[in-house]
């Protein structure tokens, strides 16, 4: 958590980082990442599912696939990757995220709808579907939400990453794509050995990254990959103790997480693909 004495300074720093108006992609100036890096990462390895949170289909680019969790008083908190690629996660109380990131109307509605409800991949998905049906995430997401509900299966994402490797312009991207595919493969393997509720936790986040990859254009793949690496789903310690899940451990791949990896329109397309996976 943020130390209370740092909260004001950190909010100001974040606001500088995510300075944006309207619908445009988040704008990050060159000096902002070091500014944020003055603040220690707030969370390294979550011990419990509650501390980990659930990856949420936010449509604000800077928040896309950030984790949503409840703080000590059940207030919503956002757990997000450090823009500089430093290890660990930043934890923002929702009011700070509102101030710094100016979330979209759909994101605000999602958090409001979840309220104090216990968070799980299923409850977040149901709330996201309801918000999309209201139309605040656009007509495409509304159509997707109205279509037959299907559980997203990110298995093909691993293959898509491997298929992309020969096209990757840089060797580092090829390595990162392979690592990410391997981690997803481990998650899919662990989920296959788990009962439904645990499987949903084990795979939490992957389908969102898969959806973003699916709607992304070829020219944006390198940026999407780096962002996906930064958002790579992280198991909590209690998940690692579940049968078949020990392979999920290990340090996640480190990567800088460019904030200009997508526009809000792209995130909304990803939401639609996530709600109605092919």
């Amino acid at each position: 958590m943020l130390r209370p004495t740092d909260a004001r300074a950190q909010r100001a720093a974040l606001k500088r980082i995510f300075t944006r108006r309207g619908h445009g992609a988040a704008v990050m100036t060159r000096l902002d990442t070091p500014t944020l890096d003055r603040f220690a990462a707030a969370l390294l390895q979550p011990a419990t599912l509650a501390e980990r949170g659930v990856h949420a289909p936010f449509t604000t680019p800077a928040l896309f696939a950030a984790r949503l969790r409840q703080g000590p008083t059940h207030a919503a908190e956002v757990v997000m990757a450090s823009p500089s690629g430093r290890r660990g996660w930043l934890v923002l109380p929702w009011p700070a995220a509102l101030d710094a990131c100016q979330p979209s109307l759909a994101d605000r509605a999602l958090v409001a709808r979840l309220g104090r409800e216990a968070l799980s991949p299923d409850t977040v998905r149901a709330a996201a579907r309801a918000v999309a049906l209201d139309g605040l995430a656009g007509r495409r997401a509304r159509r997707a939400a109205a279509s037959a509900a299907a559980t997203p299966a990110p298995v093909r994402f691993a293959q898509a990453l491997l298929d992309w490797c020969p096209e990757a312009p840089l060797e580092e991207d090829r390595r990162a794509a392979t690592t990410l595919a391997a981690r997803l493969g481990a998650a899919v393997g662990a989920a296959a050995q788990s009962e439904a509720t645990r499987a949903a936790w084990v795979l939490d986040g992957w389908a969102l990254l898969a959806a973003l990859w699916q709607v992304g254009e070829a020219e944006h793949r390198p940026a999407l990959l780096r962002r996906s690496v930064a958002l790579c789903p992280l198991p909590s310690e209690d998940m690692l103790a579940w049968p078949g899940c020990a392979a999920l451990g290990g340090s996640p791949p480190a990567a800088g997480a460019p904030l200009r990896f997508a526009t809000q329109a792209q995130c909304e397309r990803a939401l639609a693909a996530w709600l109605s996976p092919r």
């Binding site: 108006r21 309207g22 619908h23 445009g24 704008v27 100036t29 060159r30 100016q102 979330p103 979209s104 109307l105 605000r108 209201d134 139309g135 605040l136 656009g138 007509r139 495409r140 509304r142 159509r143 020969p166 096209e167 990757a168 312009p169 840089l170 070829a218 020219e219 390198p222 940026a223 800088g256 460019p258 526009t263 809000q264 329109a265």
Partner: protein, 416 residues
């Protein structure tokens, strides 16, 4: 409102253009789709020759439009040099330029020696296959740099340039080909800066060939750098005479920036505005008392881009947009596709206004959007939550796109 489309108005042509001047004028006035068709036609010609000149007035637009281009052998040869390419009539000695008319004879002279097997690999590829360019280029460019070609190369007289120019053009080309793979990598990493850690070793290698080579290399990478100041700074820090070359390359890059946003569709214009604004902000850190001319140029650029944003906003938004939105509210049906097009237009307008704000034109830019914002705010309470026409959620989204989520959230909370 032009709603994200290309240019709408093209002067009626009463007869086919005949002279080169008329052709150039027609090309300059062509719509985006006409331009794409022209490029396809030219690319299908086995020898383009002087027909290539037709594209001269529209090359800045082509950079934004990015039409699909086939990856030919001659294009692969000169890809790492493309920022140095100029029309033959603009070519001047000792400026590190390569006339486009030199591509065909040089590629033809080098191909028999170097391109065995490559032609087949290139068949069917387009310039979109950037990932393949690195691999193919790694094989081609260093070998091309080492190739001993006759001077002038056969067919040089068709370039329209003196024979003496051939040696200089070859020298320029070799300077880039020698480090083509590294420079191409920096170009690919341009959106990330490129990072200094990547740039330093490549530029160090180029500097071993001299300050002039470094200047040429920077000229090929700077147009693709998100943070040209860092790239030039990394070069200048290499020492050994690098700083003056880096300074000159940066000044040339700044001088070549085109502040115009009028020529393309709204989305492309907004992207250009965002890019130019980011560049101006980045380049501002390179100004010191020793760079008075650069400061002046950047100031002029700032003014010009700001004005371009405002002109575009005033043409696309203002009372016309507000009236169009009012009309939309009364329409019995709005398709999902129409709504998405409208939203894309709002995104473009917001991006233009954001660029204008960053260029100190916030007041006028916001004023241009105000009628549309007011119209949306007024219609919100009477819009239904469902139905085939404009819904409340649709209008809230348009408001969010134009005025930001905070303001839209306020309107959402306001009692009907």
């Amino acid at each position: 409102m032009r709603a994200g489309a290309g240019r709408l108005a093209v002067a009626p042509v009463t007869r086919a253009p005949e002279t080169l001047r008329e052709l150039l004028s027609a090309t300059a006035q062509a719509s985006d789709s006409q331009l794409m068709k022209l490029v396809r036609t030219l690319d299908a010609m086995p020898r383009r020759g002087s027909a290539d000149d037709l594209l001269r007035p529209v090359r800045p637009r082509l950079r934004t439009l990015q039409p699909p281009r086939p990856l030919t052998l001659s294009r692969l040869f000169f890809l790492p040099l493309d920022p140095l390419l100029v029309s033959p009539c603009d070519w001047r000695p000792r400026r590190g330029q390569v006339p486009r008319s030199a591509i065909a004879p040089i590629a033809a002279a080098a191909a028999p020696v170097l391109a065995a097997g490559l032609q087949a690999e290139l068949a069917g590829l387009s310039l979109d296959a950037l990932h393949l360019v690195a691999g193919l280029g790694r094989r081609l460019w260093p070998a091309a740099a080492a190739l001993d070609l006759p001077v002038p190369v056969p067919g040089w007289k068709d370039t329209g340039l003196p024979a003496a120019a051939c040696a200089e053009v070859l020298s320029t080309s070799r300077a880039i080909w020698r480090h083509g793979a590294g420079l191409w990598r920096l170009r690919m990493e341009g959106p990330q800066g490129p990072p200094e850690a990547s740039a330093r070793p490549v530029l160090q290698g180029v500097l071993a060939d001299g300050g002039e080579a470094l200047g040429l290399a920077l000229a090929t990478v700077l147009p693709f750098a998100a943070q040209p100041s860092r790239l030039a700074g990394a070069a200048a820090a290499l020492g050994g005479g690098a700083a003056p070359a880096a300074d000159r390359a940066l000044d040339s890059f700044i001088a070549a920036l085109d502040p115009g946003l009028e020529a393309s569709g709204l989305a492309a214009g907004a992207r250009s505005a965002e890019r130019l604004t980011a560049l101006i902000e980045d380049l501002a850190v390179t100004v010191s008392p020793a760079h008075a001319a650069r400061a002046q140029r950047l100031h002029g650029l700032r003014q010009a881009v700001g004005q371009s944003c405002l002109r575009r906003l005033e043409a696309e938004a203002g009372p016309t947009l507000a009236a169009a939105l009012d009309g939309l509210a009364a329409a019995p049906e709005i398709t999902d596709a129409a709504m998405e097009t409208l939203e894309a237009s709002m995104v473009g307008l917001r991006a233009l206004a954001d660029a204008a704000r960053r260029l100190d034109r916030a007041v006028v830019a916001e004023a241009a959007l105000r009628p549309a914002i007011a119209a949306l705010g007024t219609m919100l309470p009477r819009l239904p939550d469902s139905g085939t026409g404009l819904r409340r959620a649709d209008a809230l989204r348009l408001l969010e796109l134009l005025d930001g989520p905070d303001r839209a959230a306020e309107c959402q909370r306001a009692p009907g």
